[in-house]
């Protein structure tokens, strides 16, 4: 089981997951329509790209966009959650040992204490996301069961990973559960709303181009996101 999950299954998962995300990005661009979107993408590409980069940067740098400044508490938790989500699995020592075995290469790894901390941040961040969905009427009204399901899919690899890491209960069981939930998460990326992993960039880029071309950029006036 372990060999299958970390062998062929893992490679299939990576293929589907990352391949799928790339396909979604390509489909997004193909589905743009200058006339319906009312953005002259092609003739003003340089203005567009400038707006796109500004738009993306404003929202991936904490406290850069005005939105982030208006809600410091949320912003900190939101970025901590996402950074933990991305950084932990990529730079985790155990994952890199596997990489080393398979390819003979590995990335720099996080000290165990930091990795543990980041994993906990993700869990607490996830919990906070659930709580605010329940607590705030403006979030409750738009929340669906699907939103909770995605949160669960996202934090399960961390829960199982931590349990295995602290060797609570049957290590092999929890390790298998960790790998399985991790793969489920990866497989969900292209097929669910988690596709925002790539589509966030596409959407931000598109709106950035819109502002960079038609809505001010060509007037030499940058949007103060």
């Amino acid at each position: 089981m372990y060999d299958f999950l970390t062998g062929p299954m893992l490679w299939a998962t990576f293929l589907v997951s990352f391949g799928g995300l790339i396909v979604r990005a390509i489909m997004y661009v193909k589905g743009l329509s200058w006339q319906l979107d009312r953005v002259a993408y092609r003739p003003h590409m340089s203005y567009g790209m400038r707006g796109a980069v500004r738009s993306i940067l404003a929202f991936i740098i904490p406290f850069k966009a005005r939105l982030w400044r208006t809600r410091p508490g949320f912003t900190i938790i939101f970025f901590a959650f996402h950074i933990g989500l991305l950084v932990t699995p990529i730079f985790l020592e155990a994952h890199n040992v596997m990489l080393q075995k398979a390819f003979g290469v590995s990335l720099p790894t996080l000290p165990t204490g930091v990795a543990d901390g980041l994993a906990w941040v993700c869990l607490v961040g996830g919990l906070f996301m659930v709580l605010r969905r329940i607590a705030f009427p403006e979030v409750r009204i738009i929340t669906t069961a699907y939103d909770y399901l995605l949160l669960v899919i996202t934090v399960l690899p961390f829960i199982t990973g931590l349990i295995a890491r602290y060797e609570m209960g049957d290590y092999n069981f929890w390790l298998t559960a960790h790998i399985l939930t991790g793969e489920i998460w990866l497989l969900s990326l292209p097929f669910t709303k988690l596709s925002h992993a790539i589509l966030f960039f596409m959407s931000r880029m598109q709106l950035g181009m819109d502002y960079g071309i038609k809505r001010g950029g060509m007037k030499g006036s940058d949007m103060a996101w």
Binding site: V29, H44, F59, I142, M202, K214, A224
Partner: protein, 463 residues
């Protein structure tokens, strides 16, 4: 599928239809008929499949339901922060459901959508600036309005508005003859005080072709006279077209895209016919959005640009003041606290924030200009945008919407508001009528005329 006499899926295209619909006072019969109007689900779904591309599809799909957009919407703020006013909720419960159900929706649903699209969103595009995913409800609500219009679910005034544009190519029943006559009449009247002043109609190869908002010839023709005075003093070589002079587009707010195209093409043909170096539009935000920002796309112009450079009035005015074509007498500058309304349609939607402030620097004594908070591209809609001002059915909701601007103005402590947009001007007038906070409001033209330093040779000769 029962379609009413007034409320139906067919746009108004003749004067008789228009007059008949207008005769149905307040749309009484119209709204009654709407209760029996059928939804053509097949056509609706067909339209969605054909026109809903990456952008809208992705927006509907990836909205994180995080609610961060809530506070960005002034309608959420002024309506007691009820969750039903959260931008994401407003679109998910309307367009989102329509898509999910593949167009199989009923009359009641469509009426709910109509109410949401026209009374809970002014297409001000503010929320798009605050959503981490860049989801712009203003864009999506415009899209939804198009779908609703094609099914006959549109407020009575906007059905008529679009009809006006179809029949007269103007938002009011101003014909080409009315327009040319108004120009001649205004030129005659103004010439007494401004010797040599002209309003040249259809002059070819001029430097400037001026276009306006049909409310001007219809209700405040002095605005045309004021434009003429300023062009005259600035020594501009200008003209107005006899046909293609009207740049507003109620059809844009109604969601009648076919009509939008027809109107803007009419304005562009005037440019092509008269070959001005550039076109200048009046002080109107939505007119600018229609002819300059969105228009090129309706007309199918791939570069997204009108056939000649086409600028908003504030751009011309700033330039005329900057280059000294117009000179301000420093003694006559505004010497009282004054604030500025940033119109969504050319500030947030075309970045003209600094140019308007440049004008302020010439006409207001330093120290007297007070910014609204927030301002520039973060400013709130005046409260009456997107057609809201004109819809009787939603008058109450509109009045509530005005409270945001009321508070913003009160917070500045100013009694004078500069509003270089027709619609904002109207909304601020209405808010004074409704709430009596003791303010005055003005377009730029009359203010500037009042403080001009006019060269000797342009003044009337004393006999």
């Amino acid at each position: 599928m029962p379609e009413g006499k007034f409320c139906n899926k067919t746009p108004i295209t003749t004067e008789e239809q228009l007059k008949a619909t207008l005769g149905d006072k307040g749309g009484k019969q119209y709204y009654e008929e709407m209760n029996h109007l059928d939804v053509d689900s097949e056509k609706l779904w067909g339209a969605i499949q054909k026109t809903m591309k990456s952008r809208t599809k992705t927006w509907l799909e990836i909205c994180a339901h995080c609610g961060l957009c809530a506070e960005s919407c002034f309608l959420y703020q002024v309506n007691g922060r009820v969750p039903e006013q959260v931008p994401s909720y407003k679109i998910q419960s309307t367009l989102g459901q329509m898509v999910k159900k593949k167009g199989k929706v009923d009359n009641e649903f469509m009426q709910m959508c109509m109410e949401t699209a026209w009374s809970k969103c002014t297409c001000c595009n503010r929320c798009g600036m605050y959503c981490p995913h860049g989801i712009d409800m203003g864009v999506m609500f415009s899209y939804l309005r198009g779908l609703l219009y094609s099914q006959g679910f549109v407020p009575w005034e906007l059905k008529i508005g679009a009809g006006m544009h179809r029949v007269y190519r103007a938002q009011m029943d101003v014909t080409m003859e009315d327009w040319v006559e108004t120009c001649e009449w205004m030129a005659e009247e103004t010439e007494e005080e401004w010797p040599g002043l002209e309003i040249p109609v259809d002059k070819e190869d001029a430097d400037i072709m001026y276009t306006c908002n049909a409310r001007e010839p219809k209700h405040y023709p002095e605005d045309i006279a004021e434009a003429a005075i300023l062009f005259h003093v600035a020594g501009e070589n200008w003209t107005v077209p006899s046909e293609g002079w009207e740049q507003t587009s109620l059809s844009m707010f109604a969601g009648d895209w076919e009509c939008c195209k027809d109107n803007v093409v009419n304005v562009y043909s005037a440019i092509e016919r008269l070959r001005p170096k550039r076109a200048i539009g009046t002080e109107c935000g939505h007119a600018h959005r229609a002819t300059v920002i969105e228009g090129p796309y309706w007309a199918g112009r791939e570069d997204g640009q009108p056939p000649a450079p086409y600028i908003h009035y504030v751009e011309w005015l700033a330039e005329a003041l900057r280059t000294g074509k117009l000179k301000i007498d420093p003694a006559k500058r505004i010497k009282e606290p004054v604030t500025l309304q940033d119109s969504c349609n050319y500030v947030r939607n075309q970045g003209l924030k600094d140019v308007t402030r440049e004008i302020i620097s010439y006409i207001v004594e330093p120290g007297y200009f007070v910014e609204m908070a927030p301002n520039k591209e973060h400013n709130y809609c005046c409260g009456g945008g997107g057609g809201f001002n004109g819809i009787g059915l939603y008058r109450e909701q509109r009045n509530v919407a005005l409270r945001k601007k009321k508070q913003q103005i009160l917070d500045t402590g100013c009694k004078l508001v500069i509003a270089p947009c027709h619609n904002c001007w109207d909304a601020i007038r209405d808010l004074e009528e409704e709430y009596e906070i003791g303010i005055r409001w003005s377009f730029l033209k009359p203010l500037v005329i009042g403080m001009l330093d006019v060269p000797e040779h342009l003044l009337p000769k004393d006999e």
